[in-house]
């Protein structure tokens, strides 16, 4: 058989986002590209090459592994250990009852207390979680969404008690409720009141906690739920636009808060498609903020992000291969110009990461930062015919995908109707069929499959005693606290929730009086009701 040697004889290659790739690219493919206008210097509009002039030359990316399990005390020990190993920031995992606003003694919390993260019922728990951790020096990401307002309030009181003024508190509440309806699934209230809570937080932070990011828009979980890289970016941007509209409606100026908008994205799949989705994303986001929303401050136009190695790329089969995948994801993330990096650990298809697995992830990022030259020069892929061409194609596709959402009346309507959920689950099914048929290669899954493999993974043992400990602690607190203060705080909160008064001062008052997360959530449920999931597929 004759070997194919001419480009036209070679099998067609299509990226996940549907873009066809030629075997060779050259000057012709980017002849219309204007460096100053379309690419620009790093740190300059439209920020295609990066949001800072010197990027990693000045400071390496922040390393922020997701961690937390059991009690606040156990989690505090893991935090301190990670920081001791050179991790530079924290990303907090809460258990599902906490994420859904249920106290540890709620019947619905049974079997879940302390399982996938730490349990937080009252301020006391969060104080223990951050004992001896200087929260003005360590930036912390709190992975919580529908009840992010409560966790923010608790965190601010912890800061106060550590003697740190709110002006110095740095960190992020994930607080991206729209993506929870699409993937990840920790939603409680209907869409409109949930967005109102986000608006309350943004307004409160812009006045009182200026270094805090009140929400981080997550393309990550949308991609993990099956979206293509183009959908990941497009839906994340449409979500961010929905939040921006909410805040602008309250009379704030775009430059009052756009500089504190953060994003959380996913890395797995084709390396070039990932790198260019970020280069295209930075350029497009800058244009949206400047041209559509009229921002004047360049900082408002920058796409600040965490880009993490996604669990969706990891496999149950031959789990040690995931260490290698993680390293490539980290490389991709660095080539993408991320501000913060996180990696799913090699055992995460099985369990909560062991200490060993978490350490390998951290060392992967450290090796990349210190040994491989990734910090030498900014955006080293710039100017490549293929990369610049693909950046342009990705941008076009993202714009097209955003247009579809806008034609439906924006992200809130597209989520309430179930349109986005349907698009994403259909894409997940298509991708699963591609993997099962072998059309998309996955090593160890549909190629180089090994029989008789025994996974050498240490499974995290869930401790059922955590629930009892939490329940007892909660009982103690309820005996000791001042019930009049509690009633008073809850009444004030309810009144604020029923009107358009900002709820943040009332939540702060409540958590200081040791009102529980569950009690606050119940008030919101009474006033707002609960989300009805559109389940037609």
């Amino acid at each position: 058989m004759k070997k194919p040697d001419k480009p036209e004889e070679i099998k067609e290659i299509s990226l996940e986002s549907g873009i066809k790739v030629k075997p060779v690219y050259g000057p012709e493919d980017i002849k219309d590209l204007n460096y100053a206008k379309d690419i620009g210097q790093p740190g300059e509009y439209p920020f295609t090459r990066g949001i800072h002039p010197l990027m990693y030359r000045k400071r390496p990316w922040t390393m922020r592994q997701y961690s937390g399990f059991g009690t606040a005390k156990e989690t505090n020990e893991r935090f301190k250990w990670l920081l001791g190993q050179g991790q530079t920031a924290l990303n907090v995992a809460f258990d599902l009852p906490t994420q859904l606003g249920l106290d540890s003694d709620d019947p619905l919390a049974e079997e879940e207390v302390g399982r996938v993260g730490m349990a937080i019922d009252t301020l006391k728990d969060l104080e223990e979680a951050f004992a001896d951790i200087p929260i003005d020096k360590i930036s912390t990401s709190l992975t919580i969404n529908p009840v992010a307002s409560v966790m923010l309030a608790m965190y601010l009181v912890v800061a106060e008690n550590q003697g740190i003024p709110w002006e110095e508190v740095r960190g992020t509440t994930q607080n991206d409720i729209l993506k929870e309806y699409i993937g990840r699934g920790t939603w409680i209230f209907p869409v409109e009141p949930s967005i109102r809570l986000t608006g309350d937080m943004v307004e409160f932070c812009s006045k009182n906690v200026p270094k805090f990011n009140p929400f981080s828009v997550c393309g990550y979980h949308i991609r993990e739920s099956g979206a293509t890289p183009v959908q990941e970016m497009a839906y994340a941007f449409e979500i961010a636009v929905a939040y921006i509209q909410e805040v602008l409606n309250r009379g704030l100026d775009i430059d009052d808060f756009a500089g504190r908008i953060a994003f959380n994205f996913d890395i797995h799949g084709n390396i070039w498609e990932q790198v260019t989705k970020f280069r295209a994303g930075r350029r497009l986001w800058a244009k949206i903020i400047k041209e559509r929303f009229g921002a004047k401050n360049p900082r408002s136009m920058t796409l600040r992000m965490i880009a993490g190695g996604g669990g969706g790329g990891l496999t149950i089969q031959q789990p040690e291969n995931n260490i290698v995948r993680g390293a490539y994801y980290a490389l991709t993330s660095a080539l993408s110009g991320t501000q913060t990096m996180a990696l799913c650990s090699y055992d995460e298809a099985y369990t909560i990461p062991s200490k060993k697995a978490a350490l390998i992830s951290l060392r992967t990022m450290q090796i990349l930062a210190d040994e491989m030259g990734l910090r030498d020069t900014v955006d080293p892929l710039a100017g490549s015919y293929y990369i610049e061409w693909l950046t342009g194609e990705m941008e076009k596709k993202i714009v097209e995908c955003m247009k579809k959402v806008e034609e439906m009346g924006g992200m809130i309507k597209a989520v309430e109707s179930g349109y986005i959920q349907e698009e994403v689950s259909r894409q997940a099914y298509i991708q699963e069929k591609r993997i099962q048929s072998g059309e998309t290669t996955k090593i160890g899954v549909n190629k180089y499959v090994m029989e008789e493999e025994k996974a050498e993974v240490e499974i995290h043992q869930f401790n059922p005693e955590v629930a009892e400990q939490q329940k007892n602690k909660l009982k103690e607190i309820k005996i000791q606290r001042n019930e009049n203060e509690v009633k008073d705080a809850l009444l004030g909160l309810k009144k604020a929730a029923q009107t358009d008064e900002n709820v943040m001062p009332h939540i702060l008052k409540a958590v200081k009086s040791y009102v529980t997360l569950g009690e606050i959530t119940r008030v919101f449920k009474e006033v707002f009701g609960e989300f009805k999931e559109p389940v037609g597929l």
Binding site: L96, P97, Q99, L100, L102, L108, A109, E110, E111, E112, R115, V116, E180, G183, R184, G185, T186, E224, S225, G226, T315, I316, Q317, A349, Y350, T351, S425, R426, A428, Y429, E432, K433, Q436, V445, I459, F462, E533, V535, L537
Partner: protein, 137 residues
């Protein structure tokens, strides 16, 4: 006469929000000609058993990624028995270690399909088992 279509309930018990797997299965079973109902997230075992009863399904599939698969599977099987629904074909899918799969089958679950299970095999399994069940009755 056309054969009665197999009715399947795909359910997400507990607080776990990972629904990608459940939704992929819904798509696959529908494409295979089955009637599929999806509960949506955050359902209690009580709610799932009630839906199975009301909708008269042949198959109940639980999808669990939170690690709480043992207590949830056990509870489902107990409540199905109490409601005289022990004849339902019950399947469990999700992030299930192989050691736990054995335990889940001891509770009376017909089969466990962990992450990466072949869609064709799941479809074949359901068709074969429901066929056998129909021959018996």
């Amino acid at each position: 006469m056309s054969e009665k279509r197999i009715r399947v309930l795909i359910a997400k018990p507990g607080l776990d929000g990972h629904d990608k797997g459940a939704k992929v299965i819904v798509h696959a079973l529908k494409e295979a000609g089955m009637e599929v109902l999806y509960t949506g997230l955050h359902k209690t075992i009580d709610e799932i058993v009630n839906t199975a009863l009301e909708e008269d399904v042949d198959v109940v599939g639980l999808s669990i990624y939170s690690g709480a698969h043992l207590p949830l599977s056990k509870k489902l099987m107990e409540q199905l028995k109490e409601n005289k629904l022990a004849d339902k074909l019950v399947l469990v899918g999700g992030n299930i270690p192989s050691g736990d799969a054995k335990i889940i089958k001891e509770y009376g679950v017909a089969e466990v399909f962990p992450v990466g299970a072949k869609l064709d095999e799941i479809i074949e399994f359901i068709k074969r088992k429901v066929g056998e069940q129909n021959e018996k009755t």
